[in-house]
Amino acid sequence: MVRCDGVVQIYQTREIEVVALRDIDLVIEEGENVALLGPSGAGKSTLLWLLAGLLRPSAGRLWLGGAEIGRLGQAALNRLRAAQVGVVLQNPARNLIPYGTATQNIAFAQRANRKRDRRRAGDLLERVGLTSVGDRPAGRLSGGEQQRLAVAVALANRPRLLLADEPTSQLDTQSGRAVVDLIRESGTTAVVVTHDPMVGEAMGRTVTIRDGRIGAEGRDGEDLVVIGREGAIQLPPEYHELLPPGTMARVEPLPDGLILRRADS
């Protein structure tokens, strides 16, 4: 479904250039649920926006459902986003038109799609448990309701890829869990940016990004470091005490790997 091949993203500002992502290699299979983890400023949201087709990679290649993002024109990108990608932004209110009703918000998202399914709005509201407030302006819904509605809006066009940025950040535990369940139950490929360990656990796979690189991946409860393109690995923070940044280390090969030892030990 998603394949990143050496993706680099650089932001150019007035005075400086900021490398947000470097050498990202990532493959996400159809139907997979992935949580993007990492500290603030690591590049999680940037990767999400790349996957949404809102940015084109500064270098490297990115495929989405077989289409290479960097080669698509604006119109094709718009069509791709309308038909295949659903996005939930970080602040639930940012996903919604506040003066539009819940139904109108879903219909607004459907405007982008030529094959509009008018009954789907009702189905989605039912799925997210908002049928009773379908005629209420989105601005008057509670935070949890807004977030559920945001997911419903993102799913309006039956996307193949659902992207969510901190979908539980402003919700209580119960509401957060409901939103995560919604995402999981949607049956679509999902990539969720989160700081919330509960969300990470709920997703089948975690990808941890640090300093613009993929540092680790977690599958089935086990965290693994990822060897980068030039053989670089990022030690998980819990090992920084043993090998603090700047430490000289010896590499000792083993048949199935290698050992790092401090040079002064």
Binding site: R14, R81, V85, L96, P98, A109, N113
Partner: protein, 999 residues
């Protein structure tokens, strides 16, 4: 959804709606008011015109005038007033009476006694006629019976009436001269009924015999244009009617169409032609300012929708749909603004028309051109919205979310281009180049305020942040946090630029408009005073100088004036009364009063006029021997009443030894005095004339006149050397040379000086005055000069009426007889004229003349400018305050943080206040300076009159009071707005805001 969005941003939407509506109104009010003003011009011209200038009198002997009149019909024409008339002397031939009837005559006379005629051969008469009720009146031309049985038909008097000669019903004809006492030979009309015509025949030898029925009746029809029903749209139809009637008068047999409508139409066209260009220029500037305001306000609206537009793009809406979504709210507002703006334009134009235009009941119509102007303004708003939305629509969504600072665009480049174009435009205006030629006048000077506003506003917006940046270091060290924050914010220039441009431009227009209007209004007043001459001027029928003097003499506060157009223009008046009545400013003549000047135009000690009434003239001569072969004739030249040229009488063919000669006087001298205006001899040499021995000189020793069979001596001052010019008279009589080789062969009574002493407002090229007969007979010499003289709207002279009357041989058709009323005496003079039976053909007042100037093209444009510029300035101020408020509101998070960190409210208040005061005052200052500069530069070039006056000289010095008032009002409003917004913003500073992300 659109309605929801508009409601969510209701205040901003309302601001956009107001600005849009005002822009549409500013664009449409010009065309709407223009249409109304054009109608006002047409109506004013017709209402002010004498009856014969606003209607036609169709007279025909051969055809029925009613049928002719019906050939032209239009909704704005009144139904024809029909009638018939026959002029006939009474049986003794002492007086000539019009026997006539006119439709509705009984409603237009006051019956003093008896009743209106109802049957054939019944008449009503005036008291002045002397006829009694029941008397039988016989006219020479009206007979009954056929052939030998013809005898004068008696007309029975059944009523005595009194008529108001000024009633336009009579078409301005001076019908009632007998009642007015201004005629010896004409009687007042004898009103009868149409049936009289059926039973009477006309006597043999009567002129104007109708070949159809043999009767000497003229049928007539009077058709008027109704000023209350005509609009400017009807002008082509009116011109067509005039052409049709003029053609009728020229092509049909014995049909006369009497009218001065062509002059009225020409005057109307002249005024209308001057309306369009200045109005369009003002409208365009206002629309440009409106668009600028629209752009900035719509941009705010679009920016406020940026998150929604980003959401639309996130959902993958196509570019077209994103544009449609982005523009939906501004478009909806603009759509709503069109009818609102048109309604506002209609209301404003109506109010302006009610307040500024004289004519009542003027139609205020939103016509197609007004709608098109309004739509164009709205379309401009949509383009402005698209321009404003472009960045939001095209900027990458991620950039919006991340608020990534972009590289600064080079905004100084378009500004420099605009500034360069502006400077070129101003230079072109000042040098009087090509663009000043539009409309044949310097109407393009009206672009000056707009150009100068831009020229000042653009550098001003750059200067303020720079100046504040320079002060920034200073405020870091002293002045406290208030000044520091304020200066820093202004130096950042987030809201400074647009505020300075909008408020500066708006205020510049307002200041210019006020300055221009105050100066123009002063000029309107001064020109109206001088051109009208007196507070009220009544135009009366033409008579003669003596009659006019007689009319005026009986009315306190009135002065007789005869105005003869030409170059030089001439006003003949009674100097003493003129000085009492005319509007005068000592500044016209270096501080001298008019009463000190007028005596200079009245020389004393002039010989009396030589008047003769009778049927024959006798002259006594001393004739020397006239050599053989020479033929000599002595002529006397007379001025005969009601004639416009001299009448020569060959009184003698002198022969030696014969001293008395006689000749008949012109017929007009039998009942009225003729004036001897000259004597001359003509000498004709025969074939056998001896040129070595020409005739000598003859001497006129006396004149006598025969009246009623008796000869009476006529005193001609023949023994007085000063009584004749050249001075050929003396003790022996008046000597004229009969020699072709020398000596004076003619002389005129020196009853007036040549040149005439006059009050002059400048020397025209012509050396002679037109005179009352427009004969240009007398030279003139300024006895006193003034830069302006009452009643003179061109280079001309004021001359003593008595002197002018002594010069003239008659009265030109162009001479206009007027009675001037002193200030406050208008109604009394009018009433006195009415009592004297003197019809008032037209009334002209200073106020009406002044109001008329405001209705002309240039005045209209300035009125439009002042009204709309005021509204635009208010809008600009509102927009500036909103902009500052919005910008400061974004910083309430920062202010809250400062307060939380321990900053006092006082310094924060000072910071907000100071920031807004600096920006608003700077923008106001830029606007005021631009407006005053524009006024100083452009006012002498801005046309104020459709037809620029030759006199008095126009004054362009600015009047400080209104400018100071506007400037003060702008500053006070700025300060109040600054204080109010600062307070509102401070109330928004709450610690809860710190929980939110900074906006």
């Amino acid at each position: 959804m659109i309605a929801g969005g508009l409601w969510l941003r209701r205040w901003l939407s309302l601001a956009v709606l107001v600005v849009s509506a005002v822009t549409v109104a500013a664009a449409a009010v010009g065309p709407v008011y223009l249409g109304t003003a054009r109608t006002a011009v047409v109506r004013d011209a017709l209402e002010d015109a004498p009856p014969d200038h606003r209607g036609w009198r169709i007279t025909s002997v051969v055809e029925d005038a009613a049928d002719l009149a019906r050939q032209v019909s239009a909704p704005f024409l009144t139904a024809p007033i029909l009638g018939a008339e026959m002029l006939s002397p009474d049986l003794k031939a002492t007086r000539t009476y019009p026997l006539m009837w006119q439709d509705g005559q009984c409603e237009h006379v006051v019956l003093v006694k008896g009743r209106c005629p109802a049957a054939a051969a019944e008449i009503m008469v005036t008291r002045a006629s002397g006829f009694k009720i029941g008397a039988k009146v016989k006219l020479g031309a009206l007979v009954s019976g056929e052939g030998a049985d013809q005898r004068p038909m008696p007309l029975r008097v059944v009523g005595i009436y009194h008529a108001d000669a000024a009633d336009p019903f009579w078409f301005g004809r001076n019908l009632f001269t007998q009642s007015a006492g201004t005629t010896d030979g004409n009687g007042d009309p004898l009103f009868t009924v149409p049936q009289t015509r059926q039973i009477a025949t006309t006597a043999a030898g009567v002129d104007w015999v109708d070949p159809a029925d043999g009767r000497a009746w003229n049928t007539f029809a009077i058709v008027y244009v109704d000023p209350l029903r005509i609009t400017s749209q009807d002008l082509p139809a009116l011109e067509s009617a005039q052409a049709r009637l003029a053609e009728m008068g020229q092509s049909r047999q014995r049909t006369i169409v009497f009218t001065y409508m062509r002059d009225t139409l020409a005057a109307i066209r002249l005024q209308l032609d001057s309306l369009s260009v200045p109005t369009t220029l003002v409208t365009l500037q206002l629309v440009a300012l409106g668009w600028l305001l629209l752009f900035l306000t719509v941009r705010d609206l679009v920016v406020a929708r940026a998150p929604e537009i980003a959401l639309a793009r996130l959902r993958g809406l196509s570019t077209a749909r994103v544009w449609a979504f982005g523009l939906s709210e501004p478009a909806a507002i603009l759509l709503a603004a069109v009818p609102l703006g048109l309604a506002a334009a209609w209301t404003s134009a109506g109010a302006m028309a009610h307040g500024l235009l004289r004519a009542a009941g003027l139609p205020v119509v939103v016509d197609v051109s007004a709608v098109l102007y309004g739509l164009a303004a709205a379309l401009g708003g949509l383009l402005a919205a698209a321009g404003a939305a472009r960045r939001t629509v095209t900027q990458p969504v991620v950039e919006q979310w991340r608020r990534t600072p972009r590289a600064r665009s080079r905004t100084w480049i378009p500004e420099a281009v605009v500034l360069a174009v502006t400077v070129v435009g101003i230079g072109e205006l000042l040098s009087g180049g090509v663009i000043t030629e539009s409309g044949g006048r310097q109407a393009a000077a009206l672009l000056a305020p707009g150009l100068l506003a831009v020229a000042f506003a653009l550098p001003a917006r750059r200067l303020l942040p720079l100046a504040c940046a320079a002060l920034f270091r200073l405020t870091r060290r002293r002045g406290g946090i208030g000044a520091f924050l304020a200066i820093r914010q202004v130096a950042r220039g987030a809201a400074t630029g647009s505020t300075v441009i909008v408020l500066g431009a708006g205020l510049a227009l307002a200041v210019f408009a006020v300055a221009a209007w105050s100066v123009t209004a002063r000029n309107f007043g001064e020109v109206a005073r001088v051109h009208n001459g007196a507070e009220t001027v009544y135009v009366v029928p033409r008579g003669d100088a003596a009659w006019l003097r007689g009319v005026s003499a009986g009315i306190p506060g009135a002065a007789p004036v005869i105005r003869v157009p030409g170059r030089p223009l001439m006003l003949a008046t009674d100097p003493a009364r003129f000085a009492e009545v005319a509007l005068w400013r000592p500044a016209y003549a270096s501080g001298r009063s008019l009463s000190a000047l007028t005596p200079k135009a009245t020389p004393a000690g002039l010989p009396p006029r030589v008047l003769m009434t009778g049927d024959r003239i006798r002259v006594r001569l001393k004739v020397p021997t006239i050599p053989k072969g020479w033929s000599v004739i002595l002529y006397t030249d007379f001025r005969v009443p009601r004639e416009t040229g001299p009448r020569a009488v060959p009184v003698a063919r002198p022969v030696h030894g014969q001293s008395v000669y006689e000749w008949g006087l012109p017929r007009g001298c039998q009942s009225a005095a003729c004036e001897l205006r000259g004597v001359r001899v003509t000498v004709t040499p025969g074939a056998d004339a001896d040129f070595e021995n020409p005739p000598g000189a003859l001497t006129i020793t006396g004149f006598e006149v025969q009246r009623g069979g008796r000869w009476e001596k006529a005193e001609a001052g023949l023994g007085d050397a000063a009584a004749w010019r050249p001075p050929v008279s003396g003790h022996g009589g008046l000597t004229l040379s009969m020699s072709p080789f020398g000596g004076a062969s003619s002389a005129i009574p020196a009853t007036f000086p040549d040149p005439l002493p006059v009050l002059s407002n400048g020397r025209a090229n012509a050396q002679k005055l037109p005179g009352l007969d427009a004969g240009y007979l007398a030279g003139y010499s300024p006895a006193a000069s003034a830069v302006a003289l009452p009643g003179l709207d061109d280079v001309g002279a004021v001359v003593d009426l008595e002197l002018a009357d002594r010069v003239t041989y008659g009265y030109s058709a162009q001479a206009e007889f007027q009675i001037w009323a002193a200030p406050g005496r208008g109604p009394a003079v009018r009433e006195a004229l009415r009592k004297a039976g003197v019809p008032v053909l037209a009334t002209r007042t200073v106020d009406e003349l002044e109001a008329g100037y405001a209705g002309q093209g240039p005045g209209l444009a300035l009125v439009l400018l002042i009204m709309s510029a005021g509204a635009a300035a208010l809008l600009a101020l509102g927009r500036a305050v909103l902009s500052l408020y919005a910008e400061a509101r974004r910083r309430t998070y920062e202010l809250t943080a400062l307060e939380a960190a321990g900053a006092q409210v006082g310094p924060l208040r000072r910071a907000l206040l100071l920031e807004q005061v600096i920006t608003l005052c700077w923008a106001s200052l830029a606007g005021i300076v631009a407006g005053v500069s524009a006024a100083m530069v452009a006012l002498p070039r801005v046309p104020e009159f459709a037809d620029p006056p030759v006199t008095p000289p126009l004054v362009y010095t600015l009047i400080p009071a209104p400018i100071i008032l506007v400037a003060a009002a702008a500053l006070v409003a700025s300060l109040l707005a600054a204080a109010l917004t600062s307070e509102l913003l401070l109330r928004g500073v709450r610690y809860e805001r710190l929980r939110e992300a900074p906006a």
